[in-house]
């Protein structure tokens, strides 16, 4: 027994000596929900967007007002017919391997993205690209697109030579390009951004080191991190331990309200909640009785208690006004705003064709099992609807089943509770991804509108060159969608992160576009 005790003590001593060895690097560690795809032709979700922005450069950079500012491109010209965009690239920009970024790399990057067709390819138009010289690249469109320049923010510029050198030519997937370097880019970066990958085993963590050869290095904040690590966990107990153990600087945005409140109570830890382009909807299947009757839908919209809904969220959260979050350009408040009003709800219900036998039409509300916090909103809905005699079944549904159900009208439930983010802070993008027929068989639209007129109006609105006219058309669309009560609009989501107070981080100074809130070059780490 004594021997065992001595051995244990010895081991602990050795462990302590090794474990607390510090290497003096300034570290910024952030937890994220996995997977994180770092290939610019693969990643398009929250963690991937944050990684791509730190590893790669883009032609422009969005400021806090969502104006695109020069970045890799020092300037650009748009032809009178709005079909040709010519970008003048900054000279002397170096990739991480020390070679210079040229116009041909831009052409290669857009071609690769569109050939592969994944990630943000849906957002970047398949424009004909040509390098006029080493520092001038030209894109030619088939039709004018007022939002072409913002769309290019999702075009991350790759080092063509480096990627080509890592093609797997045994693959025949992309013809002469073999695997287009996909296998290599799974765990490596080929960019010119402020950070570069040093270790990425695909799960567990993504470790990136600062690239001092970055063209904009003079704008690194003084106490910028030497190493940025994305940690693959959102598990509350783990996150809390890491924070307490000084092994995490910023948490993910998936922590529950209770977990955040508990972290907020600890000295040296604070919580930041800031705008996002995400909104929380109850998406109603308008093809399924009784929700195929607009009066029934409006009855539900008037009976739900939105004040209670926001009370369940982080302080400062506000109810949605219409189908587009209020911090998205082109949002309008000049539309039907639903609030709990049981008289109006009963009035509408009386006009519904199913009014006499509404008890025979129980409404199924599917909330996503992986996001337990959603259940409380579904239960509140159930309780509120009981007040007008509408029966509601609350069902926990795994994400895989939600995706499967969404693929056909017949399997889509009455209501599914979903958070969704706009790709760009402009109303037309949100309207397109929520109500255009192109998303009708995906989880982004349970409404199944399939309305050709509405599709045409959304498509045309996105092509209107004059901003004022464009926003007016967006407003008209929002009014119609609110009037028809296609969805219940719950709240504009705020991103919530706990962070160490020694971290000098100002996400509200950045654009709300996904990924720019945690841009490491502009985050100081004082510890």
């Amino acid at each position: 027994m004594r021997k065992l005790l001595v051995l244990t003590l010895l081991l602990l001593l050795v462990f302590s000596a090794v474990a607390f060895a510090q290497d003096g690097e300034r570290q910024l560690r952030i937890t994220f929900s996995w997977p994180t795809a770092i290939d610019p032709a693969a990643g398009d979700d929250f963690s991937s967007s944050h990684a791509l922005i730190n590893l790669y450069d883009t032609l422009g950079y969005p400021d806090k007002n969502n104006e695109v500012q020069p970045w890799l491109a020092e300037s650009w010209e748009i032809s009178d017919d709005n079909l040709t965009f010519t970008f003048n690239l900054r000279q002397g920009v170096m990739f991480h391997d020390g070679t210079e970024l040229l116009a041909s790399d831009v052409v290669y990057s857009i071609n690769r993205l569109n050939d592969i067709g994944e990630g943000f390819a849906y957002l970047v138009p398949d424009a004909a690209a040509a390098a006029l010289d080493d520092y001038t690249v030209q894109f030619t469109l088939d039709q004018p697109d007022p939002l072409f320049v913002p769309r290019l923010l999702r075009l991350y510029i790759l080092n063509e030579d480096l990627v080509r050198a890592n093609y797997d030519m045994e693959s025949t997937l992309y013809g002469e390009h073999g695997d287009y370097g996909r296998n290599w880019l799974l765990t490596n970066s080929a960019g010119s951004g402020p950070y570069m990958v040093i270790d990425y085993p695909l799960v567990g963590y993504l470790e990136m080191a600062r690239w001092d050869g970055w063209w904009n290095a003079e704008n690194f904040v003084e106490n910028v991190a030497d190493v940025v690590t994305y940690v693959d966990t959102t598990e509350a107990a783990t996150v809390r331990s890491l924070m307490l153990n000084d092994e995490l600087e910023i948490t993910d945005n998936w922590q529950t309200i209770e977990a955040l409140q508990s972290l907020d109570a600890i000295d040296g830890i604070d919580v930041k909640a800031f705008r996002s382009l995400t909104a929380f909807y109850f998406m109603m299947n308008t093809r399924l009785a009784p929700l195929d009757d607009v009066h029934c839908r409006r009855a539900l919209a008037w009976a739900y208690d939105y004040d209670q809904v926001v009370a369940l969220e982080w302080p400062g959260t506000v109810s949605m006004i219409g189908p587009v979050p209020r911090n998205i350009d082109g949002h309008t408040s000049d539309l039907t705003i639903y609030s709990r009003d049981l008289d109006k709800a009963r009035e509408e219900l009386a006009q519904c064709q199913y009014a006499d036998n509404i008890a025979d039409y129980p409404i199924d509300v599917h909330w996503i099992s992986q996001v337990p916090a959603e259940e409380q909103f579904a239960l509140l809905f159930q309780a509120n609807m009981a007040d007008i005699g509408v029966p509601v079944n609350v069902l926990s549904t795994p994400w895989g089943t939600v995706v499967e159900n969404a693929s056909t009208q017949e399997t889509s439930p009455h209501i599914v509770t979903i958070y969704t983010a706009s790709d760009w802070p402009e109303a037309g993008f949100m309207l397109q991804q929520r109500y255009h027929s192109s998303t009708a068989n995906t989880w982004q639209q349970n409404e199944w509108l399939l309305d050709e007129d509405l599709d045409a109006r959304i498509e045309n609105s996105l092509l209107i060159m004059d901003q004022e006219e464009r926003y007016a058309e967006y407003a008209s669309l929002q009014r119609e969608i609110a009037d028809q009560a296609y969805s219940l609009f719950l709240y504009d989501q705020r991103n919530k992160h706990a962070f160490k107070t020694f971290v000098d981080w100002h996400p509200e100074e950045n654009s709300g576009v996904m990924g720019y809130q945690i841009f490491a070059p502009f985050i100081g780490v004082d510890s």
Partner: protein, 354 residues
């Protein structure tokens, strides 16, 4: 050891051959079952892999690449033929060959489960023996309480408790690192087995070995506690039974020291049920480690498999289940061999039936 003469070696060889032959059929059946089951899980795998906004032609390309539009029988045929050649297909989630994923993630789990196995075997047998030797004393009662708690407490709860009390100074002792296999600043050792502790020793990197072991202790202890408790109870129960046997009384009467009686004549036959349970626990831990791996951010196969299920990563699901199947089979063969060593009657019975 007084067995393993030529005749017994031959019998052992035949036994192994027979078990391996049977196993091929078991794995074949398992592969059909898992292939079919994974395809009835809800969700279009291509859509789930590529996201809501991927164009239809990209989705279709992936479906074609994975032969998802072919009849099930043909899909299985293609998969099976490729699998025989060592190609288990690509993972939809990691987008690389599943074999590469397994090579990456299996050793992490193996290392965890192996140490958990060692802890549960040594701890379980020691506690069980103590309990039996001091039957109905306070030691026995204490071990009983600990064992009951260990059996009824899920590994992830133990993991959270360990994480809270042993990784931060807030509640207890800041003794262990909370996550991962190595601390920041440590390079993984040159890969030989994929087990960091073994590879670091092979490379002579003692610091890395200590760091890797330091990271291993809490998760493997959390994982081991359930099986340790179970093995302690079973050892105690079998030993208590055997204590009343005549041959034990005879050995005591002959004046053989108590330690020798317990260690040589009592423990050995009493371990048979424990070893059988240990084998099952060991293999089960490989698949049950999911939440422990999540909590300690351990890049293991169990976590990989569960995520694959949630996202309908067909090839990954099939491959991992097969790996788990192989592990169960191998461990059970080993258990049979060990039981044969422990109990000559089983060997002799085996000999007669041959």
């Amino acid at each position: 050891m007084n067995f393993l003469n030529v005749e017994e070696l031959q019998r052992l060889f035949l036994f192994l051959l027979r078990r391996i032959f049977q196993s091929i059929f078991v794995l074949f059946g398992l592969s059909i079952l898992i292939f079919l089951l994974s395809r009835v899980l809800p969700g279009d795998p291509a859509r789930m892999a590529l996201g809501a906004r991927a164009p239809q032609e990209t989705i279709q390309r992936l479906r074609d690449e994975m032969h998802l539009d072919e009849p099930l029988l043909q899909q299985y045929q293609i998969w099976f033929t490729n699998a025989l050649g060592g190609d288990l297909g690509d993972s939809l989630r990691t987008r690389r060959p599943v074999v590469d994923d397994i090579v990456e993630f299996l050793p992490a789990s193996m290392e965890l489960v192996l140490l958990a196995g060692v802890i549960s075997a040594i701890g379980g047998i020691t506690l069980g023996t103590l309990s039996a030797r001091h039957k109905d004393s306070w030691i026995d009662n204490l071990v009983r309480v600990i064992s009951y708690m260990g059996v009824v407490t899920p590994a992830f709860v133990v993991a959270i408790i360990f994480l809270t009390f042993f990784t931060t100074a807030e509640f207890g002792l800041d003794l262990f690192p909370p996550i991962g296999r190595l601390s920041s600043g440590f390079e993984p050792p040159p890969r030989v087995t994929g087990l960091y502790t073994v590879d670091s020793l092979l490379a002579g990197q003692f610091d890395t070995f200590v760091n890797a072991l330091h990271h291993l202790i809490l998760p493997s202890l959390a994982l081991a506690l359930g099986s340790l408790s179970q093995e302690a109870r079973i050892t105690r129960s079998t030993m208590s039974d055997n204590l009343t046997r005549d041959y034990i009384a005879a050995e005591r009467a002959l004046g053989i020291p108590e330690r020798t009686v317990t260690g040589k004549f009592l423990l050995k036959p009493s371990l048979i049920p424990t070893v059988s349970i240990f084998g099952l626990d060991f293999a089960a831990n490989l698949s049950n480690a999911f939440l422990v791996e999540v909590i300690f951010n351990w890049p293991g196969i169990s976590r990989y498999a569960t995520t694959a299920m949630l996202y309908k990563d067909l090839n990954a699901i099939a491959a991992v289940i097969l790996i788990l199947g192989v592990t169960f089979i191998v461990v059970n063969i080993l258990v049979d061999l060990v039981v044969g060593i422990l109990d000559p009657r089983i060997r002799l019975r085996g000999a007669r039936s041959d």
